[in-house]
Symmetry: none
Subunit: 204 residues, 4 copies
DNA sequence: AATGAATGAGGCTTCATTCAT
DNA sequence: AATGAATGAAGCCTCATTCAT
């Protein structure tokens, strides 16, 4: 399937992914037909199968590229910040910001997670994402910034908080990102006891 | 669609829900056909539509009844515990225990959350679940047990942690429930700083 | 299938026919299910098959009994009127009156006429109805009251006029029966040239 | 559903309508399945839904196009005949001739008239057909060719005669068209009193 | 007489995918 | 690269009918 695409070709491909993302987000993956996708671009069905070998492949590609995009954003936000706890905080904020700008992807990822077909891609994505967080956590533990406990579990917990707050406050209601980010950071760093802990100042 | 059902009828209905739950969990809602469901019971297709007006209705009923079951478990676990923070902890542990025993439901709920069709039911379920948690949180704040911050947000964060740890350690790997529960409780009460905080002892 | 029915049995049977007639008229024969029919009576499906061996049989019975009812009305209206032309007129008026009171049957008969399954019953009914009209016509020709032409054709034409005017003015609009009857009689007796011909006075 | 069709496409569409017409006429609308229709063309089931959005739509289209065809025939037959009574006669003859050549459509229209679903299309068709007849009748009344009475009612009566005689003599028996047409014209112009009225000679 | 339950063929429609042009 | 057309398996659901009680 790997094709060498011309400039125009790459654009078409992206258009297809974008259209699909919107439709998948609105109606779900299964209820969206290939016909819907190409119709939304006003082209024939052949176009779809020129760029993707199947509907599944399209979603897989979408998942991969969106994850790449999110990760780039996180890395840009973190830069070369030396403090690992601060890096975690910056990562959380960047993630929320990214989801705020790409609401469509949230529902799609959520769905893909329920379908064995896409498990491999998602598994890989999550491995990477967790790896990033775990790296920071380990360093923080080594530096004595946070108590010594299982970093993998902590990473999962952090991602859980982000997921839930994203869903609720970025998608359902329309809270400003910074407020949600403050809450997420606060909870992750201090739990119920946290509040806006002084020791961990918000991004200034 | 409300029908007067005989004893036998009610049993059949439950069998259908159970079969469906298993198949939905294994393959997903859309990929599971009504034919699959009745075949798994060895009955004719008409049986399905005698008890449910559509596949959608079956899932809605499933979501409602599983939520009821989970909530009963939580209430039983909490009993008349006077300490609100302790009630939260007991709720978290009961929830994890329940999901451990009803792994099937997790994936199904996860999927339903991605499909607008089931939004109404899930919304109601979540409203109730959050309401329970929020009640404890408010009391805890009043009693000065935890700092004064938005209880709704805290409740969401707690649920997010539970979700994620459930998915990871109860479904994917096979951690003992108590260990996962300890981690969840610890993170929720103390965040990254938490560890197994002394002030909040695990269920003994 | 012929069963000896108790008094109560005969009533149930009639109730079923009446319910069915109403539903058939509203939605059509095929789109009305046996389930609909028994539900409209609030009884189980067994009842239906106790009185009728099939849905087809019900419609056949309905067609037979309604035809009988119409014919009785015509005979009552005609009484022992000696003038054959007048008898035709009285028959036309009685027919319109009957359809006015049994609008439901019109659509049903109309439908049955399009389905080979019911052709035999309808054929018989029509044979009888035509026979009645033809008898009057022949007598009228013999008596020189109307010119000598094919009475069968004339009978068909008369029935066509009645059909059409019934459909239009008794079912779609809500003209008073007498007015429609006047028009039908006038057209049948005098054609376009007719008007309200003096020689043939309306029922007084 | 409007699609841009190629030449080949338009042909397929017509083939489908023709096949359907034949089957509907033979077995009736409901008893004919989409599967029957495509099988009769030897194509896949998808083809049907490429050209029509539903079985209902197919019948509606069929009703519209057949009505158009009949009307064209009538207009061609009437030409620029100046005498309105003569125009009516020519119209009657053309109609009978058309039905003689398109027997299939008669049963279908008859059925459609019994199903509320198709009422809108048929209503429109009939409105048009009646309008044509009424126009001639009004002119005839103005010119004093026929007595002053309600033209709408007269038009209905005429159509009723045509219907009935068509059904009987063109479909059930196999009378020559001209003889049936003579009878229809005669009855419409002169009623029972008519006979083959001298004043209105048959088409010569 | 009557009921709730069950049957299973068959109906309409969708849709991922392929193909000729 | 792209299109309109075609495929046909499969999906959801209906329904006349039968059966055990």
């Amino acid at each position: 399937m790997r094709r060498k695409l011309t400039q125009r070709g790459r654009e078409r491909r992206d258009q297809l992914i974008r259209c699909a993302a919107q439709l998948f987000a609105e109606r779900g993956y299964h209820p969206t037909s290939v016909a819907d996708i190409v119709e939304c671009l006003g082209v024939g069905k052949g176009v779809f199968y020129w760029y993707f070998s199947s509907k599944e492949e399209l979603l897989s590609e979408l998942l991969k590229s969106s994850h790449l995009s999110l990760r780039r954003r996180q890395q840009a936000a973190i830069g070369d910040e030396p403090d690992p706890v601060r890096r975690i905080e910056l990562g959380i904020r960047a993630t929320l910001q990214w989801f705020h700008e790409h609401r469509d992807y949230f529902a799609i990822i959520q769905f893909a997670a329920t379908d064995e077909t896409f498990a491999p891609v998602l598994r890989r994505n999550r491995e990477v994402a967790l790896g990033d967080t775990i790296r920071h956590l380990k360093e923080a533990i080594v530096e004595g910034r946070i108590p010594d406990s299982d970093p993998e579990t902590l990473a999962h917990a952090i991602h859980g908080v982000i997921d839930q707050l994203t869903r609720r406050y970025l998608l359902e209601t329309n809270e400003p990102v910074s407020r949600v980010a403050d809450a997420a950071v606060s909870f992750c760093l201090g739990g119920l006891a946290g509040g806006l802990d002084e020791g961990v100042s918000p991004v200034s």
